[in-house]
Symmetry: C2
Subunit: 121 residues, 2 copies
């Protein structure tokens, strides 16, 4: 005897009132992925910057101790002038705003001076 | 016939009044070498920082263009909070002052915002 039982609806049939709440529009999904990719690169670069800065401060701490022991002045305007010129040149070759590279160096040097001042107190 | 001409003074004989002006004291020479070595390391690290910053700005420029095209707001306080927390944690693992890592991130983010503002004008 043939099976005359009505077939159950196929499993992939969806009710008419299904909303796309659990499947966001394709544009939004792509947006999040693109932004997340950019941010992952920024996070990698920032980690590298932090570790390099840590290494830089290790060297400037040695310079500070050395200068104090040798009786040399902490600040060296001629050296700073050379650093600014060199970094501006490097920034241009990297297509980074040279003004920013100079501001950046001043920011770092100010922090170094602040650290040294803290050590002397 | 033997040569009885008086020999010329040896070339390395120096007059009694020679001053050490062209041969600085050993301490000074060592001092300069030590400082020059430290500074060479600082210069290498600074070059790496500049090239990394150039790369970071390339990514943030893409983020800026992407956000503008997608109609997303330029600032994202939740994201910045995550970045600060992450960088402070990394700084501690690198024995870098976490306060400085936060100031550094703010300095960079301010520059990014300044750049984006400039692009929008």
């Amino acid at each position: 005897m043939p099976d005359t039982t009505p077939a159950a609806p196929p499993a992939d049939t969806t009710p008419a009132d299904t909303t796309p709440a659990d499947t966001p529009p394709a544009d939004t999904t792509r947006a999040d992925t693109t932004l997340a990719d950019f941010r992952a690169s920024i996070d990698n670069i920032d980690a590298a910057l932090v570790f390099l800065l840590a290494e830089r401060f290790k060297v400037t701490q040695k310079v500070g101790a050395y200068k104090a022991a040798a009786g040399l002045p902490a600040a060296d305007p001629a050296r700073e002038k050379e650093q600014v010129f060199r970094l501006r040149t490097l920034a241009m070759s990297a297509r980074l705003d040279p003004e920013f590279s100079e501001k950046f160096l001043r920011f770092i040097i100010d922090e170094v001076i602040r650290h040294h001042a803290g050590q002397q107190v």
